[in-house]
Amino acid sequence: MKFSDKFEARFTEMLTHYPTQRSVLVPTLLYAQDEVGYLSDEVILELAERLALSELDVRNVISYYSMLTTKPRGKFNVQVCTNIACMLRGGEELLEHCERKLGVGNKGTTKDGMFTLEEVECIGACSWAPAVQVNYDFHENLTPEKMDEVLEQYRNKAAR
């Protein structure tokens, strides 16, 4: 299958970083996921072939990391932290709010394919709890109202 030139450049470089070839798999999976949106059967087959692994091996590794997914996600992956600091500062309420607002549960994707909601463990932003990560961007010190703005912001972004 065809990846972008950027991916190929990174992949080639990555091969020089590790003493064993299979070690390249983990970072490569993340790059591939960023590019394709999820780790499709096609991606799995391609990477297995490139790294001389079985598809089963690749699937095993994917299943180990919660950041990797084999299911399509929405354009924006809304990750709401409910670990201890965030929980104490309203993380769980924030999650419930998102569920109502988006009309989906944990790991659900909105019908328009815009958002996927995910409950996650600590994302390292405890000082500014409660925190939410959308794709690679952080949003902190949130309240339900602020959360609405955040979601709106992404909708607008998509519309542009």
Binding site: S54, E55, L56, D57, R59, N60, S63, Y64
Partner: protein
């Protein structure tokens, strides 16, 4: 290297450097409990059951991953260790369903044993157990997830020892789960090694699950009846309404040549014995239809007809076709019966390898044949032709694991890219059918390379390969039936220049080697003696014909032409295998002994229902020449062993059976029941017949051990330790034939082409094998082999 000295529980232990602590403990009889550790697989360190205290080390150490060091002082049992192990068991039981009363593993489960030893019956956990429904991964492999203790033995055995890699681990931590390669099912060799190695009842076998409990079976150690490799197997048998039913095949006894291994056929395909089409009474053709009859009627008729033909047309008007699946004793008895009772050399069998030429090529050499055990230990192996993974699964296992564990150098020469090329140090592909040129080239004929050169290998490759092979020592040269006739001699000539080299000739079927060794040839007596030069046998047997008889093909032609008046077929199906027209045998009186109404049996005048190798005692010789015992495990009422039937026919012909089976003769070392396996009433049943014939019931003419005695005296190489044999150990017979070759027509050799999921007639009647074939959409072998 000097041994390393350590102290374990106050005992001094010395073991080679590099030994694992858990293994060092075993040498002085201290068993450290373990789940994930399994000898000869990679280390996992996952279960923490093997924790021990090593002085000067801060925490408890895992004995399975700790390499011994000089002066180590180790404690393997103390309250602290007991507590640690108890906690491990408690964690394992956290999610484990306590369904021992219905679990297949109950009674032979390692987790059950550990819970018994360390007691963690009460748990601090109050959460609900994480239940998942059982999954069927293939017709023979089932997975019950909650029972899994995540020892990863199954994953490792499939990856490392089988080189299949069909099992993996998904997720992490407590939610880790064993997963098959096709998401919800397996695409693999279906060997069942994963089931065998699972310490608990998480992986279970489709053919055995929920059928019985381990303690309700008798366990009989015998030899597999499918391919020519001769795995030792333990059959679990249980009484049922037709006799003794085999319910499980496994290798709980790891002492055999196969160690841990059994393939799909050995493990599951014993069910042909209880197939609904199994014959269980004699059939006689009346008014053109095969009609049930009594044994007496059948034997009387056969005796009368055979005697008639013999009197009117002579022994040469009778033909005998033997089997690759009957025991050595039966094969020997059959050819003796043909030669001495019928007075004919018209005896042959379906040949799958050129053993006579092989024997002649090895004349005068000592220890020149490799045993199955040698294949696991040799430093170098050359494999020409064949695809062992499909046709000789145990051989493939031995080669693969020798490479993996002992770094053996494997050289493969094949016309196909066979699976074993993955283990090969050198793999050289040849044009198909060019095996003979390989033999000639290796033996020094440079011009033979012309036929071998292709885009895969040029002349240099071949020259280099040959020098590389010449530089090896203790090389084992293995060849398939592609190599026959003078090519065998060339190969032996090449190998003889390599110090310590040994040879292995691959035939098919469980006892093809035995059939050849026992003289199922029109021109060869047991031990490959020419029939024209049988003084040794004449002294023992009395008069017999010396001119070579007819080959199987000539017999069938003779039957068609009406020259052959009678044909006696034992455990063979030439009509089906050669695809002959149903009318072929109509001119002769045909007797067939078989388990099923095969194409040949359907044409017979008398059909006698035979017992198979799982239902009799005797011996088998595998393709390497390893002699092993058969013990009676199953029984189907209404069948008889081929051995008994041959004797009864001789008796019905008015022949003194004492001259056929030397039972009770002075100096005979007879069987006093050692070989009868699970059966006890047999001696009594025979006694009825014996007494009616005024014979001494103590030693029976149906006793194969009496014939084994004669075999051991007369067949070169077979004089091995009887005690070892009876104890269930393999004994290697050294093959050396007389030097003068009785040339065999290479065209008579026809390999069976049985694959992993087929096994001639036996496979056809195994529902388990068929279900796997169906699921895999593999095509069963084209030929209806016997």
């Amino acid at each position: 290297m000097a041994d390393v000295n350590i102290t374990v529980d106050g005992k001094k232990v010395a073991a080679p450097a590099g030994t694992l602590l858990i293994e060092a403990c075993k040498t002085v009889g201290i068993e450290v409990p373990s789940f994930c550790y399994y000898p000869n697989l990679s280390l996992q360190g996952a279960c923490r059951m093997c924790l021990v205290r090593v002085e000067k080390m801060p925490k408890l150490q895992t004995a399975c991953t700790t390499v011994i060091g000089e002066g180590m002082i180790v404690t393997t049992d103390s309250p602290e260790i007991q507590q640690a192990r108890k906690s491990m068991v408690e964690l394992l039981l956290g999610n484990h369903p306590l369904d021992c009363p219905v679990c297949d593993a109950g009674g032979e489960c390692e987790l059950q044993d550990m819970t018994f030893s360390y007691g963690a019956a009460e748990s601090k956990y109050i959460d609900l157990k994480n239940h998942r429904d059982e999954q069927q991964w293939s017709p023979v492999v089932y997975f019950d997830r909650p029972r899994c203790i995540l020892c990863y033995r199954c994953v490792r055995v499939c990856n490392e020892a089988m080189d299949v890699g069909a099992l993996g681990i998904q997720n992490r931590g407590v939610s880790s789960i064993i997963a098959p390669n096709m998401e919800d099912h397996l695409d693999c060799e279906e060997c069942g090694m994963c089931i065998d190695i699972c310490p608990v009842g998480a992986l279970t076998s489709g053919s055995y699950r929920y059928k019985t409990r381990p303690w309700e079976m008798n366990h009989v150690g015998t030899t597999c009846t499918h391919c020519a490799d001769g795995c030792k197997t333990t059959l679990g048998v249980r009484r049922d309404d037709t006799g003794m039913q085999i319910v499980r095949g496994d290798n709980r006894d790891k002492s055999g040549i196969n160690g841990d291994f059994l393939c799909i056929k050995g493990r599951y395909a014993f069910d042909f014995a209880n197939h609904e089409d199994r014959l269980s009474q004699p059939l006689i053709k009346k008014n053109g239809r095969l009609t049930p009859a009594t044994w007496e009627e059948a034997f009387d008729l056969i005796g009368k007809k055979f005697s008639e033909v013999q009197k009117n047309a002579g022994g040469q008007a009778i033909g005998v076709i033997g089997s690759n699946r009957t025991s050595n004793e039966e094969n020997y008895l059959l050819q003796k019966f043909a030669r001495v009772v019928l007075g004919t050399n018209n005896i042959d069998h379906h040949r799958t390898a050129d053993f006579p030429v092989f024997a002649a090529a090895l004349a005068g050499k000592q220890n020149a044949t490799a045993s199955m055990r040698d294949v696991y230990n040799a430093p170098a192996i050359l494999l020409i032709g064949n695809d062992p993974t499909e046709q000789h699964p145990l051989l493939a296992w031995q080669i693969r694991n020798n490479v993996r564990l002992h770094n053996a150098r494997l050289h493969v020469i094949n016309s196909q890219v066979i699976k074993l090329h993955r283990q090969a140090a050198t793999f050289t592909q040849i044009p198909s059918g060019a095996e003979a040129s390989v033999a000639a080239f290796l033996a020094g004929k440079d011009s033979a390379a012309d036929a071998l050169i292709s885009d895969k290998a040029n002349r240099d490759t071949w020259t280099k390969l040959r020098s590389q092979l010449r530089a090896e020592q203790n090389l084992i040269i293995i060849f398939g039936s592609e190599i026959r006739g003078s090519s065998i001699a060339s190969l032996v000539q090449f190998g003889s220049e390599i110090a310590g080299s040994k040879f292995l000739c691959l035939g098919d079927y469980a006892n093809s080697r035995g059939a050849a060794d026992m003289g199922l040839y029109p021109d060869l007596l047991p031990g490959y003696h020419a029939s024209s030069n049988g003084t040794k046998f004449q002294q023992e047997w009395g008069s017999m014909p010396s001119a070579p008889g007819l080959t199987q093909q000539q017999m069938l032609d003779g039957a068609i032409a009406g020259r052959l008046k009678a044909l006696y077929v034992v455990g063979s199906n030439p009509v089906g295998r050669l695809g002959l027209a149903p009318s072929v045998l109509s001119a002769s009186f045909v007797v067939v002994q078989d388990m099923f109404l095969t194409e040949t049996a359907a044409l017979a005048d008398v059909v006698l229902p035979a017992a198979n190798a799982y239902e009799k005692s005797g011996t088998f010789t595998n393709t390497c020449g390893d002699l092993q015992i058969l013990k009676k495990a199953g029984e189907v009422t209404g069948t008889k062993t081929d051995f008994e039937m041959i004797v009864r026919i001789a008796d019905a012909m008015g022949f003194d059976v004492r001259k056929l089976v030397p039972f009770g003769a002075a100096g005979t070392r007879a069987d006093m029941g050692q070989s009868r396996g699970a059966q006890s009433g047999e001696a009594d049943r025979h006694a009825v017949w014996l007494e009616r014939h005024n014979l001494e019931p103590k030693m029976s003419p149906f006793d194969p051990m009496a014939i084994l005695d004669e075999i051991q005296r007369l067949v070169p190489g077979y004089d091995v330790s009887r005690m070892n044999l009876l104890a269930g150990n393999d004994e290697h017979t050294n093959l050396t034939g007389p030097a003068q070759v009785v040339q065999q027509d290479p065209a008579l050799i026809e390999p069976a082409n049985n694959a992993l999921f087929t096994s001639g007639t036996l496979g056809r009647y195994s529902n388990t094998l068929n279900s796997v074939v169906e699921q895999q959409h593999r095509q069963p072998a084209e030929v209806a082999a016997d």
